[in-house]
Symmetry: C2
Subunit: 348 residues, 2 copies
């Protein structure tokens, strides 16, 4: 059966003060559409599997927010990390849990705070990857066709010379590349076999569990030891004990860089990791002067190329700004030039 794992433990600081450590980006309606990014992520996967097979891995601090935002999700499908240990321990934990309830599970792993424009095409891509991993021990990633030399994303180098036999749009990965310089990113774009790493993975549960056993034996042993305890009353207490002993490492470093059978599905359904205000600006509806205004009563004069995000203000008037970010959230106000947005982390 298909399962969807959504990683919702992040505490991004680039969207402060819209987001905060206590209410990070995934729980916010950043696009002003009435649904949080987490809710939109779940919505996107309905059709791939039932709500009963959707798993949210998050921090203990966020349990209530997840339950409030996803009232139809079974409470025991929320797995709680006692501390932050990056994506590898998170994925190992949920993989062993899923294995305990469905040893033949076929799994999509996804971040909770990304945005996808063309949801039907996204579902089609995920379904094709799931069909592929249902019959193979492959690890598949969704690779996004880049349309500009973005330096904020990692890249996947694919071998496009021959496709797999079962799916003509799935190719072997030659290497994963970290966020490049602009020079290098331009080079990647010039070649046609580089894709943005979306952080969306597809595999069957046996494949990922075996990959942990091979490439992260210590971590695998930690979760293997608890195999009789998953879905019991003792699970949380034991996880609270062992999870902090896991290495703090991403699944990219822990597995992807080592495994052989890694594949990429190049796709073009419009994707953003919403990693910056300027990336959010691209996605938001804009007025004739390229302003994105999110809030109830926002008026702008002599203003262009700006974002005003003030969902908790009753009324906002902005005059005479070009290329600015104006954010107000629950008593905190940030005004900064958009080109200085990398400094936002330092501002709070």
């Amino acid at each position: 059966m298909n399962h969807v794992v959504i990683m919702a433990g992040g505490i991004g600081s680039r969207f402060w003060p819209m987001s905060s450590e206590s209410v990070p980006k995934q729980f916010l309606d950043v696009l002003g559409v009435g649904r949080s990014l987490l809710q939109m992520t779940v919505d996107r996967f309905l059709g791939i599997c039932e709500m009963d097979n959707i798993w949210i891995v998050t921090s203990k601090a966020f349990r209530e927010q997840v339950q409030q935002q996803l009232p139809d999700l079974p409470a025991h499908n929320i797995l709680l990390e006692p501390c932050r240990r990056n994506t590898a321990p998170c994925i190992a934990y949920v993989s062993w849990v899923i294995k305990s309830v469905d040893p033949s599970a076929n799994i999509v792993v996804s971040p909770s705070d990304h945005y996808i424009t063309d949801v039907p095409r996204f579902r089609e891509a995920v379904q094709q990857c799931l069909d592929f991993t249902a019959q193979s021990d492959a690890i598949v990633t969704l690779g996004m066709q880049p349309d500009h030399p973005e330096t904020g994303y990692g890249y996947i180098e694919a071998d496009l010379s021959y496709a797999t036999l079962t799916n003509q749009n799935i190719f072997r990965v030659d290497s994963f590349k970290e966020k490049p310089t602009l020079e290098v990113a331009k080079e990647y774009i010039r070649k046609s076999n580089y894709f943005w790493n979306s952080g969306i993975f597809i595999w069957n549960v046996a494949t990922i569990v075996n990959a942990f056993r091979v490439y992260q034996p210590q971590m695998a042993a930690i979760f293997e030891n608890l195999r009789e305890q998953y879905r019991t009353e003792r699970e949380q207490q034991l996880i609270d004990e062992v999870f902090p002993t896991c290495e703090n490492i991403s699944v990219d470093y822990a597995i992807m860089e080592h495994a052989d059978e890694i594949y990429v599905y190049p796709a073009e359904f419009g994707w953003s990791d919403l990693g910056s205000w300027s990336s959010l600006h691209k996605l938001l509806p804009k007025d004739e002067h390229n302003n994105a205004l999110v809030g109830r009563n926002i008026r702008v004069y002599d203003t262009a190329n700006s974002i005003v995000h003030a969902t908790t203000e009753r009324e906002v008037v902005v005059q005479g700004l070009d290329g600015y970010i104006v954010i107000e959230k629950d008593g905190t106000l940030l005004i900064t030039r958009m080109e200085e947005e990398q400094r936002i982390k330092l501002f709070h």
Copy 2:
């Protein structure tokens, strides 16, 4: 005995959203010193007279705010206008009331929302004017020595060729001038006998009542008719009936422009009508980049010549602004270039 009349019925809109129709400027601690402009105005006059002789004329809507801000003021010293009729009816009403309790009263009339830097010199000037009007039928205004060709104030043209016999710093007024153009203001400054009209008047009660009888006989009759009713239970009800029938006119037009015995006391104690954000900016303490920051936790980067006024925000970060006004108040946010501040009235 000395009496002080403070006119506190204004609803200025130039400081929106710091001020609002329900909480206008005089009730706000615009300077961030812990006292509202009204409270500072009262403080300034203590020493001139007792609290029992201070009269506040305001709108009915503001009675509670006045009582809260001035708990030591006798409740019946707050006179309530049922509607706004500019300064002449306001001054007529309070003058007849004071006459009914103290026919030999000597009176200072003052706006409630101005700022004065050197309070001891202000008190000295007022006391000298009161000494003068105690012995004469003069109408005296405080004229401020201008230090720049301000176009936002009215001017008083004085005849400096000879002073009065009793006070060497009190001179006859030749004329009142409306807010001039910059050209004309520069001409006024070049001459040395033009002073800013502070809107602060000194006279004895007989003088002002007589002036109303002569120059505004209709208005005088309205308040004269109630002479047996002041300070009785019926006062408010009768005022509610007759006040709306008064002409909507300023005391400058109603009395000053007609009366002969008008004098000016030129003074230099630092005065501002706080009529604009830039005038407030001049008075506020500023950082080394000429920023005035009023609020609890305001940090600025790459920012100069700006005002950030956000007393109801917990935290404010501003980057990359030069010459801007940033105001947040109870869910309303305004950002505008300071040089466009005259448009603020149109923004709300």
